[in-house]
């Protein structure tokens, strides 16, 4: 698994929309400013997320983006997989790798599958509701700290 800038931006955007869930749409401009993402890049990412069924959009004045599902029903792993592709460390786990003549004779395959499973266990058990809660706590903690 490798998280690209695009992937990271997507996650931050879904998190921002999660914090705003139930309170109307947020504009691209707003999302870009809050997470420090190049606006034209974010436009594309949001269109991808829309095609992936993660967000909905409203056009025109008072438009913007909203989550199409509540945050507790969006898992971290779903978004990562959709934007950055497979979570596996090598494509042979998913049969897209040509380096091994015979997969059944490869001692590495099971290891990469173990790594993949360990990763799934983490990213598929965290929802954006969990992340939103963490974010709120973190913000409170930092405020008190100052």
């Amino acid at each position: 698994m490798h998280i690209t800038y695009k992937g990271d931006y997507a996650l931050k955007t879904i998190l921002a929309l999660s914090l705003h869930y139930g309170s109307g749409p947020t504009t691209i401009h707003d999302l870009a400013r809050r997470a420090d993402i190049p606006i034209k890049f974010l436009e594309q990412i949001l269109l991808d997320l829309k095609r992936g069924g993660f967000v909905e959009s409203r056009r025109g004045k008072v438009g913007g983006y909203l989550l199409s599902r509540p945050p507790q029903r969006i898992k971290l792993g779903e978004v990562v997989r959709f934007i950055d592709g497979e979570v596996e460390p090598i494509a042979c786990v998913d049969n897209k790798y040509k380096g091994c003549k015979d997969i059944s004779k490869c001692v590495f395959r099971n290891i990469w599958q173990d790594v993949a499973r360990a990763t799934f266990k983490i990213v598929d058990n965290i929802t954006f509701e969990d992340l939103a809660k963490k974010e709120k706590k973190l913000h409170t903690a930092l405020t008190y700290q100052i």
Copy 2:
């Protein structure tokens, strides 16, 4: 973590040398043929592995490559890290990522660290002796099967 062709080839080469440990050098040509690796590519990989302290070479006739340590002292994770770089899913875990203004405010960081730790736990607990044993068993099993 993403295993490239180069990384996979390096692992297969170290495994081949592990199986041959204690019986003199193996030539590039031999290693390339056995693991089906482009020979000129493998030349470079072996030079890298030499610089990394994993293998030694003998030049001239009766030359070739040998492991510079016994297989039980070479861990899978060492080779992966050396050839394919950090095992972390995003460079921010290692402070090379510019996407997060303030790492202390990022709810994702701990998650990527968890993924990294889970991966370490696997790849840093497997030695090439383990892999060589697995390979031998696999070969025996397949031979009996036929």
